[in-house]
């Protein structure tokens, strides 16, 4: 009896939050699936929604830019996941060494993490400015370029430029996690390796990397999921331009829904994004379980 009362109180405490989440997150997700199977254009009115099966998905398949979007999403997800992690790993290894004033260097590295994405965008767009940007000035005075580069406006430059800014913005997070994980590697292991005459490289390969592998795996998976869902960075830096040269899936959903006014199609793109994301999540859980068993 007391047991049953406990259960009821427990559920009662959970219920308000659960209801709120189901209402504002759960229901919209289910509704989005219905939308993706509907012809719904805002130009035809807010009540113009009607089911049409796979019409939006079929239309997507015949979109001439489909290949470009897929290429962009791949470049973005791979680049913005792995580049920050690689850089963070290097910096974490460096900051894990005994250094004078180490606390100072360790805090300076966190600066990009503290800046709101909007400020990051303003900063990099100013650095990349074609006419007055600092970067173009230095490149020209080093004699590397003859004409100023449109970092965010030239098709061949836009992706490297976006990825550099994204790396700058996201490496500190990965760095904090990796540094914490490096610090948890027992020092005796390194001492033992040194007695056996192991080189630094061998230490890295045979001690450090295997021990931080689970953490790296978590970071990679989270990176893949977060970058594939990220709307803000591209939207703030280029809005997907020039043309659709840097258009990834989340800003495409926004443009399709609110600039082309085709909500059904926007939802269809979103549903595909969610399904691909689910594969990442499940793949990650599977890997994590396998690791636990090993």
């Amino acid at each position: 009896m007391a047991r049953r009362r406990e259960t009821i109180i427990g559920l009662a405490l959970l219920l308000p939050a659960l209801t709120a989440i189901l209402l504002v997150v759960g229901y919209p997700l289910a509704r989005a699936v219905v939308l993706s199977a509907s012809r719904y254009r805002l130009t035809e009115g807010i009540d113009s929604e009607r089911l049409c099966g796979l019409c939006n998905f079929e239309a997507l398949l015949s979109d001439p830019f489909l290949g470009t979007y897929l290429r962009n999403q791949t470049i973005w997800v791979a680049g913005a996941t792995f580049l920050p992690i690689l850089l963070a790993l290097g910096i974490a290894l460096l900051m894990n060494r005994p250094l004078r004033l180490r606390w100072l260097w360790r805090s300076i590295v966190l600066v990009p993490w503290m800046m709101p994405p909007a400020t990051v965008a303003v900063t990099w767009r100013w650095l990349y400015d074609q006419q007055w940007g600092l970067l173009n000035h230095y490149l020209a005075s080093a004699g590397l370029t003859e004409r100023p580069i449109g970092f965010l406006t030239a098709p061949e430059w836009v992706w490297p430029s976006i990825l550099v800014a994204a790396t700058w913005m996201w490496f500190p997070y990965n760095y904090v996690v990796l540094l914490a994980s490096l610090q948890s590697v027992p020092a005796e292991l390194y001492e033992a390796a040194r007695i056996d005459g192991a080189s630094r490289l061998a230490e890295l390969r045979h001690i450090t990397l295997p021990l931080i592998r689970p953490v790296l795996l978590v970071l990679v998976t989270l990176g893949l999921i977060w970058t594939s869902n990220d709307f803000t960075t591209i939207f703030l830096l280029t809005q997907g331009g020039p043309g659709v040269e840097s258009m990834t899936v989340p800003p495409l959903i926004y443009r399709t829904s609110f600039r082309v006014y085709d909500i059904g199609r926007g939802a269809a793109i979103g549903v595909i994004l969610m399904l691909v994301g689910l594969i990442f999540v499940i793949g990650y859980l599977w890997l994590a379980r396998k690791q636990e068993q090993a």
Binding site: I21, W105, N229, G277
Partner: protein
């Protein structure tokens, strides 16, 4: 022979040290350089932005851009503070009991609730916002403060529950059991024993949620169009995209620095808790 080896070793070490400090200098330049350039660009009259070669230290240092930015951004800044604080408090009111319940009570299907919370952090929020937009238009709360508040609470609620849950699970159950032996009910123990102890983590959670809202661009862009109710981040973006229109980019840079300052303050206050929220990302 032996001293020769020692000396060689020492020299090799010092080379490694020099290399390490060289790398540290590069890393600091990379991490801090862009922000310093923004900062120094914001502290000058606009004429000094457009000079060749660019000057790291302006000839005239002025706070005028900040005055203008504070005036132009007064409303958006207030909006950001309002959404941040109100949404995180609304989220807390729901999250504290929910997190406590997930840690201390036993009931069926609890695992699903936790998995659902984690999943809600990993699914594309863009997709949630589309139907929310339609519903908000229908209910007449599209482009209103109420609408944005509802969406921001939804954004921060699962996050708050997960952080608080990881904190509550570190509290020893003995504390409440002791109180219950002394005649408290479990709810009484929550209110009299756990909450006073959990003060700092609860405040930290609220502040982290506030930062989440403060940094957000997505929700405001999807669910509002009126500049009067939009957040500072979005106002900054809008102004930047019509840069030719306002003529003075130093104001934008000043605004960019201004919206960064509260986050820096927050980081300094919460350094210990940042690591916990990072640990949460490991989805324990």
């Amino acid at each position: 022979m032996r001293s020769e080896r020692v000396r060689r070793r020492r020299r090799r070490l010092s080379l490694a040290t020099v290399l390490a400090y060289g790398l540290v200098a590069l890393v600091c330049l990379w991490s801090l350089g862009p922000f310093l350039w923004l900062l120094t660009s914001s502290l000058r009259p606009s004429g000094e932005l457009f000079v060749s070669p660019p000057r790291w230290i302006p000839e005239v240092i002025t706070l005028r851009p900040y005055e203008t930015a504070l005036r132009t951004f007064a409303q958006p800044l207030m909006n950001s503070v309002f959404y941040g604080l109100t949404a995180s408090i609304c989220a807390l009111v729901l999250a504290v009991p929910a997190a406590y319940s997930l840690v201390r009570y036993r009931y069926p299907a609890k695992w699903f609730a936790v998995a659902g919370l984690i999943a809600s952090q990993l699914l594309p929020f863009v997709l949630v916002l589309l139907p929310l937009y339609i519903a908000f238009v229908r209910f007449g709360i599209y482009n209103t403060r109420l609408g944005l508040l509802v969406a921001y609470t939804a954004l921060t609620l699962p996050f708050s529950i997960l952080i608080l849950r990881s904190y509550f699970s570190t509290l020893p159950a003995d504390l409440e059991e002791q109180a219950m032996v002394d005649g408290c009910t479990r709810l009484g123990a929550l209110v009299r024993v756990v909450l006073p102890l959990a003060g700092p983590p609860i405040v930290a959670t609220a502040l982290l949620s506030t930062a989440l809202v403060w940094n957000d661009v997505l929700v405001t862009v999807f669910l509002s169009s009126d500049a009067k109710i939009q957040t500072a981040s979005v106002a900054l973006y809008n102004l930047f995209n019509t840069r030719s229109g306002i003529g003075d980019p130093t104001v934008l840079f000043a605004a960019g620095v201004l919206i960064t300052l509260p986050v820096v303050l927050l980081f300094t206050l919460l350094q210990r808790w940042m690591v916990q929220s990072v640990a949460l990302a490991g989805l324990k």
